[in-house]
């Protein structure tokens, strides 16, 4: 059976070499691993386009900015709102041409270039067996005893870390640095990226970890583990969305647009929840997988437009740095 699959794959690959149009898609590193959404996206899209979709994983924006107009990318998938301003100003991306009415995001979305495919919110995730009573609000968290230990990510090296400082900025405004100073004794450590933090949390090193409202879905669906929960704060949670766009330089613009249209189809949207452990951007909640419908989600969603975020970013990072360095 394995040999057969291999032979079939080999034949398909040779056929692809022969005459199929290639759609080159740049994606983040985690996308193309066997547990990422990449392989399923490739399979589903190739079945409908009769083309060869090739993922090129790695640093998305730095690479495309280095390549400029000579980039091979036709489509880029997995960008975040914190880089869209820079991406837009590079002039390397073209309008997506999609009807945005199917979107089910908790914020209004009218961007004509960057198309959302899934979203989540920043949240502190905890283990109910270890922390029976999670803080009920952000204020509660700031005032919690100092032996409640958190691990967070550095806003200078991690997207979720940056979202956290913007979250604190949105909740506390001018008092952000003060809030950080209050949080400081509870911050066990700061890591380079999300993976390091989450590893520390699952090893039992900290009580709460900065992650996403959707993290518990992984534990529910993949492990049947109901003990991981996101603490929901009435002050609201920062919204994080992942985006796709087509390049202005693509030599297969129709195919690139077909791919963007595919992102909004129900097929793609039903797959992405468990493929990327995020909430689909264009799928009503009753069609979400069971584990996702069980999630605690915030009623208030906080979000900065890319211009606001760009204007506040340095200030928010500096408040974090000063507040935690005291």
């Amino acid at each position: 059976m394995k040999a057969l699959t291999f032979a079939a794959g080999f034949l398909a690959a040779s056929a692809a070499l022969a005459d199929e149009t290639v759609l080159t898609v740049y994606a983040p590193d985690y996308f193309t691993s066997e547990w990422g959404p990449g392989p399923k996206i490739e399979e589903m899209f190739e079945a409908r386009c009769g083309c060869d979709l090739q993922f090129k994983p790695g640093d998305l924006l730095p690479r495309i900015l280095l390549e400029g107009e000579r980039t091979e990318a036709d489509v880029v998938i997995g960008l975040n709102t914190d880089v869209t301003k820079q991406a837009r100003e590079s002039g390397l991306f073209a309008p997506h041409g999609q009807d945005l009415s199917p979107l089910t995001l908790p914020v209004a979305w009218t961007d004509d270039t960057f198309l959302p495919f899934n979203y989540g919110h920043t949240a502190f995730v905890y283990n109910t067996e270890r922390l029976a009573q999670a803080p009920a609000s952000f204020d509660d968290l700031l005032n919690a005893p100092d032996d409640l230990k958190l691990v967070i990510q550095d806003p200078r090296s991690s997207i979720s870390g940056l979202a956290l400082v913007l979250w604190v900025q949105a909740v506390y405004g001018d008092r952000a640095q003060e809030a950080w100073a209050k949080l400081a004794p509870k911050v066990l450590t700061v890591t380079k990226g999300w993976s390091e933090s989450y590893g520390l949390f699952t090893d039992g090193e900290a009580d709460m970890v900065l992650s996403y409202t959707t993290s518990p879905a992984y534990h529910i669906i993949a492990e049947g583990d109901l003990t991981k929960k996101a603490a929901i704060f009435p002050e609201g949670h920062y919204f994080m969305v992942e985006l796709a766009a087509r390049t202005a330089t693509t030599d297969v613009p129709e195919l690139a647009e077909d791919f963007l249209a595919f992102i909004l189809t129900e097929d793609f949207q039903s797959m992405i929840a468990t493929g990327n452990w995020s909430i689909p951007a264009a799928l009503s909640a009753d069609k979400w997988p069971e584990g996702f419908r069980q999630l605690d989600l915030p009623e208030t969603v906080l979000f900065y437009s890319e211009d606001e975020a760009a204007a506040l970013r340095d200030q928010a990072i500096e408040a974090w740095r000063q507040g935690l360095s005291q």
């Binding site: 590193d29 091979e72 450590t189 700061v190 380079k192 390091e196 090193e205 500096e318 360095s325």
Partner: protein
């Protein structure tokens, strides 16, 4: 003798591969940019933690190496081989291993709690230094151990027949050797700690533990401020070269002249106090290094079954890269194995991997598709990064061979090839084995430079482990880390063993 043109080519290759990418990044940026807020704080912290880390690593390594040099016991060979292990683990895996021992819920605090004592926190400057000592103490120990083993056996025999006191023996034989070896071991460790990033951040506990490398990461990946990245990379390079030059000046001493080129047993250090002291050092060092490793193994076993075919394919790629890097690195190191070559070699670990990766991407891109070059570029950069270690290990012995046998060989009119085959290589066998083992193991564990060269079909094992962690597969990632540890150690052991066959070490 090793011919000069070859050495010049090897030196130019190092300079080109380190300065070239920096220049490419700078050219693309269109000029230097200013430093950001906090960059000076970061610089201060970087230098301070690197100094402390190098100081503690070398200071602790001296008694440990001495104990290992003069004791023979069951399991000594295994312990010496395991000393390579911490150095080669992916950073995140080693850090999780350390935290399993020293963390909030670690073994140490568990024991303290059971004894009714207050617990200790690993997070802070002391945690950063602890982790760097964990990584580098074994390396320093092995380097200094090589120095001890390179003292001609005749000197110890002479010292014994003259009835030298331990103090006199130390002054006459051991101190001159340490003076030659320790400063450059210090320099190598200082430079490697300069570019520390994830360790410093994770164990440093917050923004106070910011290093220059983090600022470079932020500049390249988040702000696309290549001018600032290039400036920071040059500052880092300057610091490293300064450390190298200081070591070059300090590391004087002329060695011991030629012996009969063989190893014999030692007569000194047989007193009761010396034995107990040595035993205590060996036990302490072994416990400090092996307990976190044992935790990595214990955490990894349950995840082994979860590894898929991709993991084994990634392991195969990593093995190929490691073997190719080793061959390349040794061929590169032999002509450069002199004191000046050693300083130059430091450049390989002094320039930020991210800047090298970005620069190589810019250089390669007009000529070839970077995606197809992911593995060759990794091989090349791994060889470059391992070069300073290989040089540090090979240089003292290579210089001694040149000094002791150079005139004789010139008198015999040996061709360069015959010199290499008959004189140099046989005498470098032990350091060559060690250097090859270290290079191979380092390349297995390396990540870093190819963030821009991604290719889904050419994944390496460390990358696979990181991707597993990124996809919530913590347990499978621990399994992958165990495979990585086993493969790296296996390679290290095989090469190192090969270098010691027939040598009484």
């Amino acid at each position: 003798m090793a011919s000069r043109p070859v050495a010049v080519i090897a030196a130019l290759a190092v300079a080109g591969l380190t300065l070239g990418p920096v220049a490419a990044v700078l050219a693309r940026a269109g000029g230097w940019a200013a430093l950001g807020p906090g960059d000076l704080d970061a610089l201060r912290f970087t230098v301070w933690q690197a100094l402390l880390s190098a100081l503690f690593s070398v200071a602790l390594a001296i008694p440990a190496a001495r104990a290992l040099a003069r004791r023979r016991f069951a399991g000594r060979g295994l312990l010496v081989a395991l000393l390579g292990a911490p150095f080669i683990l992916p950073v995140i895996v080693a850090v999780l291993g350390l935290i399993a021992v020293f963390g909030q819920n670690g073994l140490l605090n568990g024991a303290l709690r059971a004894a009714g004592l207050p617990t200790v926190s690993i997070y802070g400057l002391h945690g950063v230094v602890l982790a760097h000592v964990f990584f580098n103490l074994p390396l320093a120990t092995r380097m200094i151990l090589q120095g001890w083993l390179a003292i001609p056996a005749e000197r110890f025999r002479l010292a014994a027949s003259l009835g030298l006191t331990p103090g006199a023996l130390f002054r006459m034989l051991e101190w001159p050797m340490l003076l030659r070896i320790a400063p450059s071991a210090f320099a190598v460790i200082f430079v490697i700690c300069l570019s520390s990033f994830a360790v410093a951040l994770t164990l440093g506990g917050g923004p106070r533990a910011t290093t220059v490398e983090l600022a470079i990461y932020q500049a390249v990946r988040f702000e696309f401020d290549l001018g600032r990245a290039a400036l920071l990379a040059v500052i880092q390079l300057g610091l490293a070269m300064a450390a190298g030059l200081v070591a070059l000046v300090l590391a004087r001493g002329t060695g011991f002249g030629a012996g009969l080129d063989r190893q014999v047993a030692r007569w000194d250090g047989q007193g009761r106090a010396a034995r107990l002291g040595d035993a205590a050092w060996i036990v302490l060092v072994a416990a400090f290094l092996l307990t976190p490793l044992a935790m990595v193994v214990a955490r990894g076993v349950p995840g082994l079954g979860q590894l898929g075919a991709d993991a084994w394919e990634a392991a195969r790629h990593s093995l190929l890269v490691a073997l190719a890097s080793t061959a390349l690195c040794l061929a590169w190191a032999l002509p450069l194995a002199t004191r000046r070559g050693e300083v130059l070699g430091l450049a390989g670990i002094a320039v930020s991997p991210l800047v090298i990766g970005t620069g190589l991407f810019l250089i390669v891109r007009p000529f070839a598709n970077p995606f197809a070059l992911a593995l060759p570029v990794t091989t090349l950069v791994n060889a470059l990064v391992a070069l300073p270690f290989a040089l540090r290990i090979l240089a003292p012995q290579a210089e001694a061979v040149r000094r002791d046998f150079g005139r004789l060989s010139a008198g015999l009119g040996l061709t360069p090839l015959a010199w290499l085959r008959l004189v140099l290589l046989p005498r470098l066998r032990r350091p060559l084995g060690f250097a090859a083992g270290l290079t191979a193991a380092l390349s297995m564990g390396d990540l870093g430079v190819i963030a821009l060269f991604g290719d889904p079909d050419r994944e390496t094992l460390p990358l696979h482990v990181y991707r597993l962690m990124g996809a919530y597969r913590t347990e499978a990632a621990a399994g992958g880390a165990l495979v990585l540890l086993a493969l790296s150690l296996g390679l290290f052991w095989a090469f190192d063993r090969g270098g010691r066959v027939g040598a009484e070490a």
